[in-house]
Assembly symmetry: C3
Homo-oligomer: 242 residues x 3
């Protein structure tokens, strides 16, 4: 695979891509999409009127839930990430604009489909990075703790896990498994290549799903067959999980 990428001159690109800073552009997109999903939740607008503190806390959970959960999993302080004041202030500004902007102007801008598709794609760039960083962080703490790497990478990739939603982000689990295999040298690719490939796959599938208002999973067919073979689940029966 490295050879193919070399021919296509992608090796350097992957290297540069994996070193690109996320703050503030990509993080901003991440916060906007996360809090946008919060606003889609029934009742969230009323909560923002009655109790701004509760609404702000929810927004922070949606934005930083993956950091909180990963810190808990590794035995650290759950509010460790709140030391980065600029990130918190940026997310708070997004929350304020999305919920309290006059005429709902900011919401209308970012919920406009073409804009939203770009933001969703940028969010997946951040998500892939977070999975890779989570697996790497766990591998430092536990050198052969492959289960721990998968778990930390998984929770790092999915902010909504902290709300006990095992939703349309099973992809984070597969990503965490791939990055753990890379970390254990079971995959013959460099980490930067894997980041590029997984980002491309996640962003494109998420953009297509958002454009088609679909909640299906790109893995549904394979999952269904694997579950049938291993666990005797009825074919197509794993649909309810999504």
């Amino acid at each position: 695979m490295e050879a193919v990428l070399g021919v296509l001159n992608l090796g350097d690109f992957a290297q540069n891509f994996s070193k690109m800073g996320m703050f503030p552009v990509f993080d901003l997109a991440y916060y906007i999409v996360s809090i946008l999903y919060l606003k889609y939740e029934p009742g969230s607008v009323e909560v923002s009127r009655r109790s701004p503190v509760a609404s702000w806390l929810c927004a922070m959970l949606y934005c930083f839930g993956s950091y909180i959960l990963a810190d808990i999993m590794l035995g650290g302080s759950p509010i460790d990430y709140f030391q980065y004041n600029s990130h918190i202030l940026l997310a708070s500004a997004v929350w304020y604009l999305l919920f309290y902007c006059p005429l709902n102007l900011f919401y209308k801008c970012v919920a406009f489909l073409p804009v939203k598709l770009v933001l969703v794609a940028l969010k997946e760039v951040v998500r892939t990075r977070k999975i890779a960083a989570g697996v790497h962080h766990a591998s430092h703490a536990y050198h052969h703790g492959f289960f721990i790497m998968v778990i930390v990478g998984y929770v790092k990739g999915d902010s909504t896990l902290i709300m006990f939603k095992f939703g349309p982000t099973k992809a984070s689990l597969y990503g965490a498994i791939l990055f753990t295999m890379q970390e254990a040298h079971w995959l013959p690719v460099s980490k930067s290549t894997l980041i590029l490939a997984f980002t491309f796959f996640m962003a494109s599938s998420k953009v297509v799903m958002t454009a088609r208002h679909s909640h299906g999973s790109p893995f549904a067919l394979i999952e269904s067959w694997v579950c049938h073979l291993l666990f005797g689940s009825p074919l197509g029966g794993s649909e309810e999980d999504h």
Copy 2:
């Protein structure tokens, strides 16, 4: 403000006041008032009859919930405070006397209004100290983590947060913000002066509220206006939060 206090000869007093030991007198008052509130909860007396272990656990949560939550927030052991055997035994003795004393004698003594007012005032002394200590502790772990300081100070000041009650102690939040501003040198007062002033404010407002059986907040009017301006809440609409 320091100058005014100097004229009034309060500087030394504040210094001494902020160094005064809390154990055992003030802590005892804290435990009595905390477990008294537990006994006011409907059903708590039946629980103490049927399952003393559960009742004891609840009493410990009411007394040490703020330490547990603050330790969790800073990534420590949630039962770290249980190493102080004398504090646990003192609180357990208070729990035993309040729930199982013959003729309910101890309860009748401490629930007698004049006694209770003194105990409530003493409890606020401990609460202010705990907020200041929480902010200071967090500022050691995270030098510029102002959000973390506010959160740790807040949970340290409010034992009932661990039961997910966001009740009449929003004052702890304002206290945590004040002490964080002092720690960040944004307030031109010394810490001992702030402790004295905030203790005085908390104790007096709590005594008045207890005497009048009121559950209102001294901040209700200001909060209502701020919420109206910033978040478009209807005026007086934040009443439901209290």
Copy 3:
């Protein structure tokens, strides 16, 4: 007591018994019995068909819940134990065989009463070791934290506590208290003797209870009297706790 054991030549036996490795035979029995109890739960078989990941997570909680809870209590990573890949794989294999084995063959073997009685006895050997290890671990972190030792020993002895079931394992609490007293040198026995005696007591009472399909506690009568004297509970009233 040491003298009596010396006469019976039990001292050396206790020493050797307390040094015996638990992996893999005893641990295997522990996993089998734990996941067997999971399969007894209503609905667990349907969950295993619809969502194997959720079923696997439950099985891991049943097997390693005590480690997770003890790690949380001491402020460590809750998934710390997942670094032992061989233990996780062994438990996963047991889970797979118990839920997905053709013809339910494995389940029928281990649920066969004579086999189950042996497994239940082996499980109690592991439980006693875990209580002793938990108390010892806590005593290293907190030299005079007797409450912490009891709490950590207790949660280490009872995997189901993590599911908020305070069920038929109050024995773990008494075990934790005994081992804490031994650690504090208040009991004139060596740790290996206590391990042997407590293992014998737990295994025999659990085997008898399993054989008689009883859910009563061997301590019910004493508990009832102590609760009556100390807390004024009606005699026999603590039955509901079990």
